[in-house]
Each structure stands twice: as C-alpha cells, then as structure tokens.
C-alpha cells in the first residue's frame, strides 16, 4: 500500500452514541444507588446502547481493515494505542494493589500499636493485635475464614498460565497461515478463560455461603473482592475479545501478515495473566 496515505475517516457517529450510552449507564447506576429503583431501566438501556455502539464501531473498523485501506502507519498507531491502553489499565490495578500493600505494611500494624499509630491502638482498640488477614479492630462482618491459596486459586493459576501457552500456539498458527491451528488454539484459550471465570464465581459462592467472607469483611474482604473482582471482569473482557477474534478467524479474517486484532487481544490476555500472578502471590498466598 502507498506509504503516504494515512487513513483519516470523515465523520463518525459512534462516539456520541457511546457518550449517551455510557452516561445513561452510570447516571442510572448513580440514581439506583440513591434508591431510585426505576433508574435500573435507564442503566440497562445505557448498557444496551453502549454494547450496540461497540458492535457498530468495531464492525466498521473490521470492515475497513479487511478492505485493506489501513497502511503500515495506521497499523503502528493501533499498536501504540493498545500498548498505552494496557499501561493505563496497569495503573488502575496499581491503585488497588497500593491499597493492599498500604493496609498490610502500614495501617494494620499501626492499628496494632506499631510505629506512629500507637495512640489509636492505646485509646481506641487496645486489645487489637495486628495480623494479616484481618477484618479490622471492630471485626467488621464477623468471624470469617480465609480463602486458601492451594485449592481453586492454584488450579486457576495453572489454567490461566496454560491459556497463555495456548494463545501463543494460536499465534504460531496464524504466522504460518495455519488457520485450523489458529482457531483451535483460540478455542482452547477461550474455554480455559471462561473456565477460570466459572471457578472464580464458584469460589465467590463458597466465600459467601460457607466462609462468611464478604465484601464487607473489613480490609481483607475489601481488597480480596475488589482485586479479584476487577481482575475477573478483565478476564471476562479479554475472553470476549478472544472469542470475537476466533469468530473472525473462522470467517477467514487475518493472515500471516495482517492479524493485529489478534495480537492486541493476546497482549491484553497476557496482561490479565500477569495481574493474576500478582494476585495469587499477594492476595492468596503470602
């Protein structure tokens, strides 16, 4: 393709549609949190608009890509864009990991009487001994059991790491223009991904039903569910991305030269994989 041509679309309708959808979604949710139950309708409507927008927008980009109007420079823009998007996601998780480390290294020991927080311990909670995990000196949420690392979480680690292998196997497939290997590799990856999410859901059920471990179980429950919850949401998104790529692969999209959509999804997949390792080590294990 001619190197000088950078594709500049002329006008687009999807962003304004996305803004309307997203605003309805979050506005409805906010009203719902304030107790206006009808707002849940607005929220659902916003979600539907948002999903429809993504179908339309990505659909157009897919058609443009398949008609080969993007040159190498456009391809590089997408690569840089995806890379920086993943970086922003890393920073988002950083906030929650930061909260976890702060609680474990500072706030809980201080509540137990160490360092500068000694007065809080003396005057408010003299009987509190700092341990991790904890639901705090007021034992918020009541007695609970800790989620062990070597049951489902360890299994999930194996599942997610294996899915990192299968996605690479799929990559080798498309590089060799071996479409069956590409599609089978993706199918395996997606199955493993959704298996992970299913096991995670089962673990949540166990936590709530049998361990009395809840979102409201003090700082341990807060960090446990927020970190694993956001991670699970990202796994779900990544698995959906890979599913779309797989369906496109089955329709004959992509070849050994042109498959950035796959690579973007694979990068994202490795990113959720790495975040999981952090979770496994710092939330479940240590």
């Amino acid at each position: 393709m001619a190197e000088a041509q950078y594709y500049v679309p002329h006008g687009t309708r999807w962003p304004i549609m996305g803004s309307i959808g997203l605003t309805a979604l979050v506005g409805g949710f906010a009203a719902l949190l304030n107790g206006a139950s009808v707002a849940s309708l607005v929220m659902v409507l916003g979600f539907v608009i948002l999903v429809a927008m993504m179908f339309l927008w990505f659909g157009q980009v897919v058609r443009e890509s398949e008609s080969r109007i993007y040159n190498d420079q456009v391809d590089r823009s997408f690569r840089w864009g995806m890379g920086w998007f993943i970086f922003s996601e890393v920073c988002f998780f950083g906030a929650f990991f930061g909260a976890l480390f702060y609680a474990r290294v500072y706030s809980v020991p201080w509540l137990g009487g160490e360092g500068t927080g000694v007065a809080t311990n003396l005057f408010l909670w003299p009987s509190f001994d700092s341990v991790w995990p904890t639901n705090g000196p007021a034992a918020l949420g009541g007695a609970y059991q800790v989620m062990g690392a070597w049951g489902i979480p360890a299994l999930n680690t194996i599942i997610l790491l294996s899915s990192g292998g299968t996605v690479t196997w799929a990559h080798w497939g498309i590089i060799k223009d071996n479409r069956p290997q590409f599609v089978w590799g993706l199918l395996l990856t997606v199955v493993l991904g959704f298996l992970f999410v299913g096991l995670q859901a089962y673990e949540y059920y166990e936590a709530y039903a049998h361990l009395n471990l809840k979102l409201s179980t003090g700082i341990y429950g807060s960090t446990f569910f927020m970190l694993t919850g956001f991670h699970g949401a990202h796994v779900t998104i990544g698995a959906i991305m890979l599913t779309v790529v797989m369906l496109r692969g089955m329709r004959g999209h992509f070849d050994s030269k042109n498959h950035f959509a796959f690579e973007a999804a694979a990068w994202y997949w490795h990113f959720v994989d790495v975040v999981w390792l952090g979770l496994f080590i710092f939330v479940y294990w240590l």
Binding site: G18, T23, A30, W84, A99, Y102, A103
Partner: protein, 533 residues
Amino acid sequence: MSAATTRDAHDDAHHDDHHHHGPEPGVMRWVYTTNHKDIGTLYLVFSFLMLLLGGLLALGIRTELWSPGLQFVEPDFFNQLTTMHALIMVFGAIMPATVGFANWMVPLMIGAPDMALPRLNNWSFWLLPFAFALLISTFFMEGGAPAAGWTLYAPLVLQGGANLPFAIFAIHLMGIASVMGAINIIVTILNMRAPGMTLLKMPLFIWTWLITAFLLVAAMPVFAGAVTMLLTDKFFGTSFFDAAGGGDPVLFQHIFWFFGHPEVYIMILPSFGIVSQVIPTFARKPLFGYESMVYATASIAFLSFIVWAHHMFTVGMPLAGELFFMYTTMLIAVPTGVKVFNWVATMWRGSMTFETPMLYAIAFVILFTLGGFSGLMLAIVPSDFQYHDTYFVVAHFHYVLVTGSLFGIFAGVYYWLPKWTGNMYDERLGKWHFWLSTIFVNILFFPQHFLGLAGMPRRVPDYAVQFADWNMVSSIGGFGFGLSQLLFAWIVLQCCRGGKQATAEVWDGSDGLEWTVPSPAPYHTFETPPAVR
C-alpha cells in the same frame, strides 16, 4: 490537488471519496467531526464556558468573603462553591483548554494530516459535556453539590447527600476522556511526525505534551481507582478508608495525591510548552538550552510521582516519610530553575517586541516563579506545619495555576489565534486585557499570602475581623479579574469575525511547521508530509 494523498470515507457510505472534504454543513459537523481542528475548537470553546462557570462560583466565594460574618450564603453552600469551583476549573477549564491546544497544534507542528486516532479523538471530547452535565446536575439535588473539597477526602466526602455517586461517575467519565485523549496524543507524536523530524527536533510544545500525556495515562487511572474505593466504601460495605475495618482514611489521601501531584504538572507542562514557543518568537532567537529543557521537563515528570505526600505533612506520617517527601519536593526546584533560566536566557540580548502573547509569556515567567517560590516555602516541613490549610496555600496554587497555567493558555491563544482564524486580533485591546488581568490578578491573590501567613484558614465562609481589609482587597481584585475576561471573550469573537488579514508567518520571528501553512489553516493540512531538515 493531490487526490490520492489522504483517503476519506463517510461512515455510512463505504466508498473512498477521492476528493477533499470541507467541513460537513450544519450543526452535526461538530458532533460527528473527526477533524483535529474542529475538535480543538470544541475543546477550547468548552473550556472557556467552564472557565466562566468556575469563575462565577469563585465570585460567589469572593462575595461572601467581602466582609466578616455570614452575608449571602449558608456555610454548606459555601463549601459546595469551593468544591465545584475547583473541580470545574481543574477538569473543565484548564485541562480541556490544553487538550484543545494539543488538538489544534500537534498535527500542525509535527506535519501530520490529523491525529493518529481521529474517531477516538471525537469521543475524548464528546464525553466531557456529558460528564459535566452529571457533575453540575448535583447542584440541584437533595443535599446539593459535593462539599468536601475537590480532594474528596474520606470520610467527610462520604457524609454528603445524594451527589456522591453522580460526582464519582462524572469523574470516571472525565478520566476516560482524558486517558483516551492522552493516548491519542502520545500515538500521534510517536507515530505521525513528518519524515526527518527526530525526537530532538520536535518543538518544545510537542515535548511538553508528550510528557503531559504520559502523566495523564499513568495518573488518571489511579484517581479512578481511588474514587471507586470511595463508592464501594459508601454503598457496598468495603472499609478501605475505615479504621474499624483495618483500613485508613489517610490511605485515601495517599492514593489521591499520588494522582493529584502529577495532575498539577498535567496542568502546567503544556503552558511551559506554549511559553517556550512564544518567547523565542518575540525575542527573535532560538530557545536557549533546548535539550536541557527537554530533560528538565522529563525530570519534573519523574519527580512528580515521588513527592505526593508533601500535600499531607500534617496528617501524621513517620519522620522518614516527612524528610523523604520534603527533599524530593525541593529537588523539583532544580529542573524548574533550569527552565526559568532558559526562558530568561532566551530573552537575553534578543530583539524583543512586546505583543500580547509575549506580555503574557513574560508575566508567566515572573509570576509562575513567584508561585514556585511559595511552593518551596510550603515544601519545608516545619514551615508547612504553620502554613498548612491557610490562605497561603490558596495564594500559592493560584499563582501557579492562574498566572501560570491560565496565563500560558492566554499567551497561546493570542499567539495562534491568527493562525486559527486568519485574522489578527485587536492588539490594543489585547494589551488592555493583559494589563487589566495582570493587575487585578495580583490584587486578587497577592494579599492572600498575607492572610495565610497571618493565620486565616482556607475553605471558611467567615473569618476573624483582623482579616477583613485584605479580604476586601482580594475580592475587589477578584471582580476586576473576572470582568476582564469578558474583554477576552470580546477580543476573540471580534477576531473570529474579521480584522486585519494575517499572513502565513503571522509573526516576524515565527519558526516551525505551523507557520508554513496559510492563515487560516485549511481544513486539511499536511496531507503529504512536509520534509523536515
């Protein structure tokens, strides 16, 4: 006409139109546009409206503070005014204005046909009006707008009315918009430069925006995380910021300021860039120490991530923490000093003329430096124990944000307005705007140093009588400064409607790719990349 250089296609019509498009007719042009100049204009107009709204809230504050006692507003509404003034000015006025500059000028200055991701660019802007509709709607809710300060400290912010989830989701939308915009700017700068424009040939404005965009991508998601924790603490029973559950209210301050300090550089770095373009033009000399400017900007960005706790010296931190954050904060004075030195050295023995952009740039250098000095005073822990939460802090950050960021933005508007509109603005009125703004802004903020040093706390609707005189002076300055901005609106409007035809170069000493295209800049520019030596 080079029909084959840029390919356009309608969204709905899937064919390539091998001819040039002008803007679409009608108002939907602005809603559907993917053109960086249109989107830049949208950002700039939106930010000016927000500046007026935020300014109006500030005048509410200054009216109440005209004299001691409670005159016009309830204390809780006063707190809403200070909170919303800050949120609107930070996220609605200053940041979108600088993004507007990036949209207009980055492609023009690096010789690109448009931003790298034009559809995403549209969304980055069009989330903002929705976000601010959500935020401003809280004024009309039960319990009113957020009133815990723009820093949203837990647990106070969790004790407000119905506004909290709306404010939090508004912040989420702004954050998404900022991150998308920042990614777009980074990608454009890294991938769309004209052949031959190596990184160290980029204009300094491009460098400052590249680094600003990096700060945005790194810091905004952390803020999103922080407000998400507020939301779950309030509605879903988590205890991130509740000591009873093992959390800590101070944790919120740490996460907030980990975002918040890079945020203040997000607001100032683009203005550094603008001033670094303006001063060489009117001094008719190349920028002194270009490379050191680049490295200084990068150092400031790096340091901005390891100084955050200087906002919370009095919160009760271990001594080692106080010392670490004190020294890193003072270290920032080194790269900033390099910058100020270079600006002054650029002017040294230059053939200077003093058109309005240059006046604003010079005022920026002097007054921003003043704000930097008061920042140094605040960086010293034992002094900060005295200054903390007083009007001295208010004076400090208004010097760096108003006479810093905003004056830089004014300099940029006057500098590039002829390129945008094709007309020269009225120089005489521009100078009036400059002198009125500069005099009144100092009447407004300089006395606040005295008030703070004398012990007047910030965020209070009422104060002891010994603070009465300087508060009245400050309020007079506030009204004068606010009204002066109507003159600015008039000058810009008048320039859009007509005036002396501008040449392509516009200024005598102008240098750079943006001055090689006609004024006004055509709808599409650099469809074939220019050659850069």
